[in-house]
């Protein structure tokens, strides 16, 4: 059924159901809350009434309390309090009467109201009775004392008049009246019947006493007083009776009325309160139950509404959402290119229609796509064939053609056209390729005779032209090479026969020949001059490449030769001047050596003297060392002796100590002896006359003891003195030993110093010996030096002569001007000219000085610039 509803209808139906449930819930809620509210109002009214009853009860109690207080104390303030409280009670009672709801309670409240009025009236009665009692008591209080005073007066006067009987009776009466009054007061206090009876008894006693007094008393004054007393007592009695009646009435009212009505009212009010409370107790749980029922209903309906809402939403949304999701996935698949999708929905609503539409759309798209795929396949076959053929052609296979049978329909024509176009290009290319191949291999073919059309014919003619030109060029070059083989470099090619680059080729060959010939000719000239000894000519033409290198090499070798010969010349000059200097130096060395030899002889003599002195020094220091050692030994011996002396002194000291110990013992013995003597003296004294002799002996012994003690003391002093001296001696010996030790140390030092001196002197001697032998060697060296110098001089002369010879050989070469200048300046710098000038004087002087030297005759070399010019 749902399937046949439209989406719109489903949504409306769902919401309508939910709304209906909501309305039902609202109605239920309203009803529940309304009934709860009514119940609560009723409950509140009852609570208020119960409260009012409570207040009535409270005020009533308070008024009763005030009434009690009044009965006990009779004070006016209690009356006021009673009135106030009772008024309040009436007020609250009126209130309760107004609020009453059921007739039962109304009747009770009315009863309470009448009782309350009754209570009030009775209270008023009691109040008036209390007032009356107060007045009567005041009367009693005035009469009582009057009776007492009068009786006292009677007693006093009777006693004064010595009427003892009267006085006694009066005093007895006084006692009775006082007792009566006491019990009156007691009765007023307690309201006891016994007290009332006692008052009666006392009064009868009193009356008896009064009767006796009346008989006894004669005195007029007293009689008058007695009659006063009698009348007063009568009045007192009647007043007391009244008081009694009043009090009885009052008590009866209180007892029978007030104390009954009060509790009755209280219990009635309590009854009303309780009835209210019972009603409340009934109504409360009822309301509670009805509220719970209402809440339960609301919860149940809420749950139903919730369930219905959920069910409706599921029922409505499911048929919409599920197909839409399916549709979305179909559309997604179609968008991704899958056209095999379709969706069958069994729905008659808007969604069903949408699904059918989408299915139609997918079918149309699928048809169009199939057609396109077929077309693409056919075109691809053709394109593949073309592409394969082109690939083969590119690879160099020019015979490759497309297979037109593979194509279908009109596309076959496309492949046929393609094949024809390839063939038209390939045929002439094949011929041209063949010719060029042959030319490159050196086989110049015959001209092409085949006819071609258009651009292909132009190509044919060009090839023929090329074949002709190459043939001519080859024959021309052959002529030139043949001439070159024969050494005829003057033959030249005919360039006029050719055009363009071919002409340039022939001209190039001609120029090449020219360029080769020119430098060879110039080099030939230079070499001719060089062989004649002229080194001044150089190659001067401008050449390039290898020819320039050849020119530079020739020129360099020329200048190298020039430099070499120039330097050789300078060297020869330097050698000749050096030889002269060597000769000079050798001569002066020879002379110096002779002088050195004589000096050496003097030195040797001096050193021999020094050597002798040093030896003596060494000997002396050795002696000093021996002496030092012997004195060291002496000092050590002295030290040993000193030590033994110190030990001897210590022995003396020890002995002295021993002696002093012994003396101490002696002293001790003397002391003990003294004590014995004293004891003896004491004994003697105690023995009296018989001890006399003993006392004498004791005294003697004591004297002896004292003497030995004294001797011991003196010896001790002497020993102490000698010990002191030994101590001093030891001290001095220690100092001496110390001094001797110092001497030993010093002597040791001196000894080592002397030893060092001796060693040094011995070393000196040997050093001097070495020096003199060295001097002998120097002498020998000097002698041999002198001979060597002479030999050197001779060698120098020989060298000089050889250098002149070398100069003569060198003079054959003609050097470049530049080199000549250079040699001149160099020679000037070296001062060779000057040397040459002074050479002669020096030579003669040397000859005069030393006859031992042999000088070789040396030819003079003139090296002035002018001489160079002759070469």
């Amino acid at each position: 059924m749902l399937k046949n509803l439209s989406v719109k209808q489903k949504i409306y139906a769902g919401f309508a159901a939910v709304l209906v449930l909501l309305i039902i819930m609202s109605v239920i809620g309203y009803n529940v809350i309304g009934s709860a509210s009514d119940g609560f109002n009723t409950y509140r009214g009852w609570a208020k009434n119960a409260n009012t009853s409570g207040r009535v009860q409270a005020n009533l109690l308070e008024s009763r309390l005030a009434a009690k207080n009044f009965f006990i104390n009779g004070e006016q303030k209690d009356v006021l309090a009673f009135t106030e409280c009772i008024d309040k009670t009436s007020q609250f009672l009126d209130e309760a009467e107004q609020n009453v709801d059921i007739p039962e309670r109304e009747s009770i409240i009315k009863k309470v109201s009448s009782d309350l009025d009754d209570y009030k009236a009775n209270f008023e009665k009691v109040k008036s009775l209390m007032e009356e009692r107060g007045k009567l008591v005041a009367e009693l209080d005035t009469k009582g004392p009057q009776i007492e005073r009068s009786l006292s007066e009677i007693m006093r006067t009777a006693n004064r008049d010595r009427d003892l009987e009267a006085a006694y009776r009066a005093s007895s009466g006084l006692r009775d009246i006082l007792l009566a009054r006491l019990y009156v007061i007691k009765y007023l206090e307690k309201n006891q019947k016994s007290d009332y009876d006692r008052v009666k008894t006392e009064f009868s006693n009193f009356d008896d006493e009064l009767t006796i007094l009346n008989n006894e008393i004669q005195n007029s004054t007293r009689r008058q007083l007695l009659s006063e007393v009698t009348s007063l007592s009568r009045e007192y009695k009647s007043t007391f009776e009244n008081v009694y009646t009043t009090i009885m009435t009052r008590n009866e009212i209180i007892e029978n009325k007030l104390d009954k009505i009060g509790p009755e009212i209280s219990s009635l009010v309590e009854e009303v309160k309780l009835s209210y409370k019972n009603d409340q107790d009934k109504l409360g749980p009822e309301l509670q139950a009805s509220n719970d029922r209402g809440i339960m209903l609301i919860i149940v309906f809420s749950l139903i509404a919730l369930a219905m809402g959920v069910a409706a939403s599921v029922l409505i949304s499911r048929p919409i959402v599920q197909p839409v999701n399916e549709l979305v996935s179909v559309a997604q698949a179609v968008a991704d290119g899958d056209l095999n999708q379709s969706l069958i929905l069994d729905q008659n609503d808007e969604i069903g229609t949408l699904a059918e539409t989408i299915n139609g759309m997918v079918t149309s798209l699928k048809k169009a796509d199939d057609a396109r795929i077929e077309n693409d396949r056919k075109v691809k076959v053709v394109l593949d064939e073309v592409s394969a053929t082109a690939e083969k052609l590119n690879a160099g296979n020019i015979s490759a053609r497309a297979d037109h049978s593979k194509a279908e329909g009109e596309l076959q024509n496309v492949l046929t056209g393609f094949n024809q176009a390839i063939s038209a290009v390939v045929e002439p290319l094949k011929v041209t390729g063949n010719y060029i191949s042959r030319i490159s291999k050196g086989d110049v073919p015959e001209k092409i005779t085949t006819d071609y059309k258009g651009d292909f014919n132009v190509i044919k003619m060009d090839i023929n032209q090329a074949i002709e030109t190459i043939g001519d060029l080859i024959s021309e070059i052959k002529v030139l090479t043949d001439a070159a083989e024969r050494g005829e470099l003057s033959v030249r090619g005919k360039s006029s026969k050719f055009e363009g680059d071919w002409r340039n080729v022939v001209d190039g060959i001609n120029n090449l020949l020219e360029l080769i010939i020119a430098p060879i000719e110039e080099a030939q000239g230079c070499l001719d001059k060089m062989s004649a000894g002229d080194l001044t000519k150089q190659m001067e033409g401008h050449y390039k490449g290898d020819f320039a290198k050849m020119k530079d090499a020739l020129n360099n070798s020329l200048s190298s030769l020039n430099d070499l010969l120039g330097e050789v010349t300078i060297a020869v000059e330097q050698v000749s001047s050096g030889a002269i200097q060597v000769a000079d130096s050798s001569q002066s060395i020879s002379q110096g050596a002779t002088e050195a030899a004589s000096s050496l002889e003097e030195t040797t003599a001096s050193i021999t003297e020094i050597s002798a002195q040093s030896r003596k020094n060494a000997e002396n220091s050795g002696n000093a060392n021996t002496l030092a050692v012997s004195s060291l030994k002496s000092a050590e011996t002295g030290n040993e002796r000193m030590n033994s002396m110190v030990s001897a002194m210590n022995d003396i000291n020890d002995s002295s100590n021993e002696i002093s110990k012994i003396i101490k013992v002696i002293d001790e013995i003397a002391f003990q002896t003294n004590l014995l003597a004293l004891n003896a003296a004491v004994e003697a004294a105690r023995a009296g006359a018989h001890g006399k002799g003993f006392a004498v002996v004791a005294e003697e012994v004591r004297n002896l003891a004292q003497r030995s003690a004294k001797a011991a003391q003196e010896t001790t002093d002497l020993i102490e003195g000698s010990m002191e001296k030994v101590k001093n001696g030891t001290k001095i010996a220690d100092q001496t030993a110390k001094a001797l030790n110092e001497i030993i140390t010093e002597i040791t030092k001196v000894s080592s110093l002397v030893e060092e001196i001796a060693t040094a002197s011995n070393e000196q001697v040997s050093a001097i010996d070495q020096t003199s032998s060295a001097l002998g060697q120097i002498d020998q060296v000097t002698q041999s030096q002198s001979a060597s110098a002479e030999e050197g001089a001779a060698t120098a002369e020989e060298l000089s002569a050889q250098s002149v010879q070398l100069k003569q050989i060198l003079s054959k070469f003609r050097l470049s001007r530049q080199i000549n200048g250079k040699i001149g300046s160099m020679l000037k710098e070296a001062g060779i000219t000057k040397v040459a000038e002074t050479h002669e004087d020096r030579k003669t002087a040397a000859k005069g000085k030393n006859n031992k030297k042999k000088l070789v005759e040396e030819p003079q070399i003139n090296l002035d610039d002018d001489d160079f010019g002759e070469f």
Binding site: L678, N679, V682, R686, G688, A689, K692
Partner: protein, 167 residues
């Protein structure tokens, strides 16, 4: 010998004879009848809870007797004992007590004529209570000590008795 003058007729020979001893630089004398014997210083066994002047007890041939330092008893400064220090053993009323003194000198005779009473100086000199008199002997003056008072002070009495009873 010249110090001792013997009187043949005097039956009570002991009267007028004194044993002299030294404390510090002063000479003192006690009556010879009180003296039992004189011994050198010996080991003194200290006893607890005694006045400082009672130094302890000594064993004298088997009998234990208390020892009093006379210097301390006289309130003088204490002096360490040496080999010259002596103990005078005195016997009064059958009680033996040792008196430690610096040295013991001799036994001399002083007649009663030569003994003068103690000068009545101000009462603060407490040691006067032990002094019997001042004995003249030649140029010297010896202080005669009342051994009875020295020993039988109430306080000392009990101590000595207690030691004696213990012994």
């Amino acid at each position: 010998m010249e110090n001792i003058e013997f009187n043949e007729n005097d039956v009570n020979f002991q009267d007028g004879q004194y044993l002299t001893f030294n404390l510090e630089n002063q000479q003192y004398g006690i009556e010879i009848r009180d003296v039992t014997e004189i011994v050198g210083i010996q080991q003194i066994t200290d006893l607890p809870d005694l006045p400082d002047y009672v130094k302890g007890v000594i064993n004298l041939r088997g009998s234990v007797i208390p020892v009093v330092d006379v210097r301390l008893r006289f309130g003088m400064s204490e002096r360490s004992y040496d080999e010259r220090t002596c103990i005078m053993v005195v016997d009064i009323n059958k009680t033996s007590v040792g008196l430690v003194v610096d040295t013991v000198s001799e036994v001399i005779n002083i007649s009663n004529d030569n003994i003068e009473p103690t000068p009545k100086l101000n009462a603060k000199a407490a040691r006067n209570r032990y002094v019997k008199g001042l004995g003249k002997s030649g140029d010297d003056v010896k202080i005669i000590v009342d051994t009875q008072k020295l020993l039988f002070d109430a306080e000392l009495d009990t101590i000595i008795n207690s030691i004696a009873s213990d012994a």
